[in-house]
Symmetry: C2
Subunit: 344 residues, 2 copies
DNA sequence: CTGAAAGCGCTTACAG
DNA sequence: CTGAAAGCGCTTACAG
């Protein structure tokens, strides 16, 4: 069947050198071992010529390095995560790394299981949007020397590289916008979870509310509740708080159900109900009326995440002191029609 | 650092048996080699007890099997593909397989490159939504004995397992619906590509048009054109064919630009312009007016794909005759407001 | 019914 | 400046 793959031994034989020499060139260690320049070039040229690629499993077995990065996202079918995953993957491939990813669905148990599977695969590093409660597993990974980069959120008590948007200020500014548009009773609809990014968004909401001497109105919903049940619950909430004139949705996902609930109740956006959503979506621009949303800088996030990871992966391993980086990016409030009352 | 992993040798030593015995039990070959039932149970219990997991790289190196499946989608950030990928991944994990996926962006060159990378990783099988022009690479893979399962579309001239929706009938029925709604001049907006699924959708469109003795109006757009340019082009097309009263978009992706173009031109859906889209989207239901769409059965597709793959992977390898399966699934036309003229 | 041994394709410490 | 050799953790043909 499969035609026999070329091995280092074949190359060594053809070139009349030892396997060591070939391997050294392959691993860019030619200089530090004082291999002759000509020899290096000769081997290198030949390798390029025949398009030799090392067997990853042999490398993995021998060196423990696998050039594979594990990525844990909340939900790979969510537009925010899939867009980030895609860009990270692309960049990683260019650098000769593979990405394997899985969806935690914000479940602690599932995340732990996946991390366990990943560990058995001896990945080189981990990119994680952590659900609450996996502190111990992450610490263990880090103690074993694997780089971990968080994105979208962090875990309290864990000190590592992370890339996030400025959730607090993003939420605060979105609220300011709603207030300036004349909305008085603005509710915040969020997940019933302790995730850091959600709490920060809530803090931004509360800050704006308190500066305005208004009363806060917070509705918490379950993460992956049954869709019709979730919508029903939101309808009920809105109906029982008839004075609410605007809603700030803490995520795209909640907004989807929320918009449907608002529609079902026959409320008109933006005059009966103002709407702002955290996380933008291609479709929001096309809505009637178009939906105001906080757009996270996807490309920038992806770029920072993969750069941090590659840096950790390529920098000589064990430092006494590691200077972890916390990258905080600005988001962009996309003001559209859903948050500006129309003349009437 | 990392605490030393348990190996087969450790287990053999602890249990006072040979590595062979342990390996045999591990691989479920205990019976065919007549290992004693008690021995098998003893080893098996111990393995479970300590939660031993074999080193994948050693297995991969030794056996050539890696329990990893490569998946090539068009765009992992597209809702259709990400939903399918996620379900396949989940099922694969349960069965002890990993999935690595990448986006081809419908580019022949990129798909070839990715397949090349995959090959070097010695994957066990391939799940592919093929762009045109990779026939040779796929044939090569198959000649080497790797199972290949196509989904969403096939490649002419390649005979292998595939899972698809009945594109022809789905398109035909959607057209019938538009015609019954009273639309007279229905345009078909599709990609300028030779992909089988697109041609089938077009065939369904043409069939309905010809049965109705109408004239066909087809607009082809580039796959990943610059967004504003793409929208401009669609606007121009609509403006220069003012008699068109409905558009059937061949994909979700084209519809996004198309809806924006229609909005920019100030045309009202559904009265000025009826709309139907191939591929549903969470957001279409929420649109004002809601958008009629052909929903593909995501779960069913994913289920069939992974089942076919696992079957090929676990069935004893080389057959003289392989009975490839072509699974054709029904889609669901979700009739909403965009395709039914309102009274006025 | 069970074990010793070769070998998958690499990397690297060591010897020259 | 370069090569022979050990060993990573498995699987499997072979011998008993």
């Amino acid at each position: 069947m499969a035609k026999k793959k070329t091995t280092i031994a074949d190359i060594a034989k053809t070139l009349g050198v030892s396997k060591t020499t070939v391997s050294l060139v392959l691993n860019g260690k030619a200089r530090q071992t004082q291999l002759s320049k000509e020899m290096e070039k000769r081997v290198h040229d030949y390798i390029r010529e025949i398009g030799y690629v090392p067997n990853q499993y042999a490398q993995g077995l021998r060196s423990g390095k696998t050039r594979t990065i594990g990525m844990l996202v909340e939900d790979i079918s969510d537009s925010f995560f899939s867009a980030i995953a895609r860009q990270i993957e692309e960049r990683a491939y260019q650098m000769g790394y593979k990405i394997v990813y899985s969806s935690t669905e914000n479940e602690t148990r599932k995340a732990k299981e996946l991390l366990e599977v990943y560990k058995n695969n001896k990945l080189d590093g981990y990119i994680i949007a952590p659900p609450a409660g996996i502190e111990d597993e992450v610490k263990e990974l880090m103690a074993e020397g694997y780089p971990v980069v968080f994105f979208d959120r962090t875990l309290p008590g864990i000190h590592t590289d992370s890339v996030m948007v400025d959730n607090y200020n993003s939420a605060y500014e979105a609220m300011k916008h709603l207030i300036n548009s004349g909305y008085k009773h603005i509710a915040f609809m969020t997940l019933s979870s302790d995730q850091v990014q959600m709490l920060e968004r809530e803090r931004g909401y509360l800050q704006a509310i308190s500066e305005n001497n208004a009363a806060y109105i917070i509705k918490r919903v379950k993460y992956h509740d049954d869709k019709s049940h979730a919508i029903g619950e939101i309808e009920e909430f809105i109906a029982s708080h008839a004075y609410i004139d605007a809603i700030f949705f803490a995520t795209n996902y909640i907004a989807e159900n929320g918009l449907e609930a608002i529609g079902n109740l026959g409320l008109q956006i933006p005059n009966d109900m103002g709407v702002v959503v955290f996380d933008d979506n291609n479709m929001f621009r096309l809505f009637t009326p178009s939906i105001t949303a906080i757009a996270q800088p996807i490309s920038e996030i992806a770029e920072h995440v993969i750069n941090l990871m590659l840096e950790r992966l390529t920098t000589v391993a064990v430092h006494e002191v590691v200077d972890f980086q916390t990258v905080v990016l600005k988001s962009n409030l996309q003001i559209r029609k859903s948050s500006i009352k129309s003349e009437s």
